[in-house]
Chain length 146, copies 2
Amino acid sequence: MKEKQFKHKQAWVKTFFHARGFKCTPQRLAVLSVLKNSPKHLSISEIHSRVREFLPKVGLATIYRTLETLEELGLVVKVHLEDGCHSYTVVSREHGHPMVCVRCNRVFEFRECPIDRMSKRLSRKTGFAIETHFLQFLGKCQDCKR
Amino acid sequence: MKEKQFKHKQAWVKTFFHARGFKCTPQRLAVLSVLKNSPKHLSISEIHSRVREFLPKVGLATIYRTLETLEELGLVVKVHLEDGCHSYTVVSREHGHPMVCVRCNRVFEFRECPIDRMSKRLSRKTGFAIETHFLQFLGKCQDCKR
DNA sequence: AATCCAATTGAGAATTTTTTTCAATTGTAA
DNA sequence: TTACAATTGAAAAAAATTCTCAATTGGATT
Ligand SMILES: [Zn+2]
Ligand SMILES: [Zn+2]
Ligand SMILES: [Zn+2]
Ligand SMILES: [Zn+2]
């Protein structure tokens, strides 16, 4: 059951890569899988060491390259924190925004966008043509509250 | 007139530093002034070289330390971009959000916060206690549109 | 105005992070 | 299977950031 779901996902990813002209390599699948299986955002070196558990000879440069690719494909995003913006998390395909727990580092996704609806108003008001926005919430998750 | 305003601002900053237990040094004033006088966001090394026009012997480490301080004091913020989060801009004291032009790099400030009002709803809905949020708009300014 | 002291700085070294290079490997289309 | 462009690993190079420590300095106190 779990395995079937896994295979299904893998297949989907494979198609996804091919449709965009990228090869489906074990390294890319591993990085994606590591991120998908982590409730917390992960730094580059955390990703590296976790990937190495599966593929022991993967180099750090490959992690950098892979994350760049996955980010470009919209499968992962950088997590922006007070002390730097060097960790990553997966995102669903729909436009949503990460809520990051500053205590346990878990990332939840808020699957709404409060910005969309106000974009036009902002444009009208300021003359600025918004193309994209970065929105991220920092706080405490249900478990870490209080 | 302009000079008077400048002096006034300087004095204000001095008080601001002192009230928070920081010294008012030429280096800090220079970094702040460089950022205030730049309509565009600036990278660390851009800041460094501009500061050096006034104070030729300032070291790069001082720029790092100063930016950390100014950020902590809420006088400047990091600008987050697709390809990294390594440049800075000044912000007004009120809570607002930067609109960054991806063409000319100028930063405008949207002096409203669309998030405040929805924070409670989000909390109620998700159980997540928002402490801060990070919102930034990317797009084209009036001059760079079309 | 002179003194004192903790905070800050400059210089450079050290460390860490990121990018580059290139030969070897490997997905994938044919 | 074969062929080839894309991708990778390994190592070096480059860039970014932090650290150390003696010297300096802002500002409080006299
Ligand atoms: Zn938590
Ligand atoms: Zn959004
Ligand atoms: Zn960032
Ligand atoms: Zn512009």
